[in-house]
């Protein structure tokens, strides 16, 4: 396998925003134990802005680093801005991922989308 970038290892070593948010406005739950990656992403939203994001992840180094990065990227963004964060953006922010680990960045994007979906369900109907 190709190695991880310094940025990936940095996020893996010191993951940001680990944990749960009490009374979150949205929760995304993606992946399953069979494929070896599970991500839970919590968001807090105020006036359409994501004020806080936290995660819990079962997975490899890339899964933890992408979870950490996506929570960093999303904080302070409006819901619409957050919806444009792609797996590519997460990967780029991490200085790239080995090709066989690209699915982890996809999972991070899906976790975010799923948390926002949940927020929509809880707080307003989707336009």
């Amino acid at each position: 396998m190709e190695g991880y970038s310094t940025k990936v290892m940095e996020h893996f070593r010191n993951p940001r925003n680990v944990g749960k948010i009490e009374n979150p406005d949205g929760v995304g739950h993606v992946g399953n134990p069979v494929c070896g990656d599970i991500m839970e992403l919590y968001i807090k939203v105020k006036d359409d802005i994501i004020t806080d994001a936290k995660f819990k992840t079962f997975g490899c180094g890339a899964a933890i680093a992408t979870s950490s990065m996506v929570t960093e990227l999303v904080k302070g963004k409006s819901i619409n801005e957050a919806l444009t964060i792609s797996n590519k953006a997460v990967t780029e922010a991490l200085g790239g991922l080995p090709s066989i680990k690209m699915h982890c960045s996809v999972l991070a994007e899906e976790a975010l989308k799923s948390a926002i979906d949940d927020y929509f369900k809880n707080h307003r109907s989707r336009e």
Partner: protein
């Protein structure tokens, strides 16, 4: 965390089943064969004679250790080539007699992928299941035999979970039915007693870099009379069974490694078994929700394989590496298929436990304090990763 900071530069290698460091005596034994005794052993003049002599001595040492005669040993580039040669060589040579091969579902990829290749070539392969400990039942071998069976290949011991197979029993079944029997001995040769007569095998694969020898050299024992079709065409080396100018330095290193093993094996087996059992006991005691994979006793002296629930193997490996500990996992994350280890699935582990596996393999240079260090560090790593795991959180509720 602070407590262990002073040990940051400490590096502990616990992946001896992946490869071993060359013993310095091996490196020394190889030295003359690069620039001094460099002749091509197929030549007649003195340069060639010297190389030929070195090769003869090396072959003799390895054959003796194995209970074979020197002409029954061919040198290869390693375990993978030995396994490929055994499987394909016997299959092609025996094609007119039958097209059926029996193997297990926990073989090394160099055996299982060779079998898959042969299936595409029209051979039929039976992949025997194993029990919860990873052991093949000889009775299953017996029942799988048909009148088309030409080869049975079962590994001596498994590289992931260390399960030592009942090779003697299986070999005697094969012999009774006059079917060739091959065993992949890469994990056992020079680690536990391996004698071809005692085991009753027709072909046996070895690799030097698993026994403190160099990489790129291995051997295949082919019992006198066993027909194989060589898969490389070329010169007449190795009794026309393996063309290519011989890797004399590698061969000399391999022989030295075997010589050292002969001297050290008995004590080493005892030492490794003690360290292995200490590590297993320590992990099971100190880490809640952990389990041993493989058989508690019928396992390689240096093999520890555990599953640590609710956390994933690669993240454990990386965290342990940050503390200077090198080990491996059967988690999927290094394979493009995302499937975890076929061995762990074959012993009946659910996917999540296979993803949560960790393998430590202990060897010649491992000290007891290294094991103590792992037992000090591992619980911290597990705690850190579990605090991040959504699965562990659920469990607590």
């Amino acid at each position: 965390m602070e407590k262990t900071c002073y040990k940051q530069n400490r590096r502990i290698y616990l992946d001896y089943a992946a490869t071993t460091p060359c013993d310095l005596q091996v490196v020394e034994a190889m030295q003359p064969y690069f620039s001094k005794i460099f002749g091509n052993p197929s030549t007649l003049y003195s340069f060639g004679q010297e190389a030929r002599r070195a090769m003869r001595e090396a072959r003799g040492k390895i054959a003796e250790f194995l209970g074979a005669s020197p002409e029954e040993i061919i040198f290869t580039s390693g375990g993978t080539e030995s396994n490929n040669t055994a499987l394909k060589g016997v299959a092609y040579a025996g094609r007119n007699k039958g097209n059926h091969i029996i193997t297990s579902s926990i073989e090394h990829h160099s055996v299982s992928e060779s079998c898959k290749f042969l299936e595409k070539e029209g051979f039929k392969v039976t992949y025997l299941t194993v029990d919860e400990y990873g052991l093949v039942n000889p009775q299953d071998v017996k029942e799988a035999i048909t009148d088309k069976t030409i080869l049975i290949s079962i590994m001596h011991a498994n590289n992931e979970i260390g399960a030592i197979q009942p090779i003697k029993d299986i070999a005697s079944i094969a012999r009774e039915k006059e079917i060739y029997f091959h065993t992949d001995s890469v994990q056992t040769f020079a680690h536990i007693p391996v004698n071809v007569n005692d085991l009753g095998v027709d072909l046996l694969s070895m690799s030097a870099h698993k026994l403190y020898g160099p990489k790129g050299i291995g051997a295949l024992y082919i019992k006198k009379g066993v027909k194989i079709t060589p898969f490389m065409q070329g010169g007449d080396q190795e009794k026309r069974k393996r063309a290519s100018t011989e890797n004399i330095a590698g061969i000399a290193g391999f022989a030295k490694a075997v010589e050292l093993a002969k001297e050290k094996m008995g004590n080493e087996e005892k030492k490794l078994t003690f360290l292995r059992d200490k590590l297993i006991k320590g992990i099971l005691e100190k880490v809640e929700h952990s389990r041993l994979n493989g058989h508690p006793a019928q396992r390689l002296p240096g093999n520890v394989n555990v599953s640590i629930e609710y956390i994933e193997g690669e993240s454990m490996v990386l965290n342990l590496d940050m503390k200077g500990i090198a080990c491996s996992t059967g988690s999927a994350c290094t394979s493009s298929s995302l499937e975890p280890s076929h061995v762990l699935l074959a012993i009946g582990l659910p996917h999540e436990l296979a993803h949560s596996s960790l393998r430590f393999t202990i060897g010649r240079f491992t000290k007891e304090e290294d094991i103590d260090y792992v037992l000090e560090v591992l619980p911290e790593v597990v705690k850190k990763l579990r605090s991040m795991s959504p699965l562990y959180g659920e469990k607590e509720k």
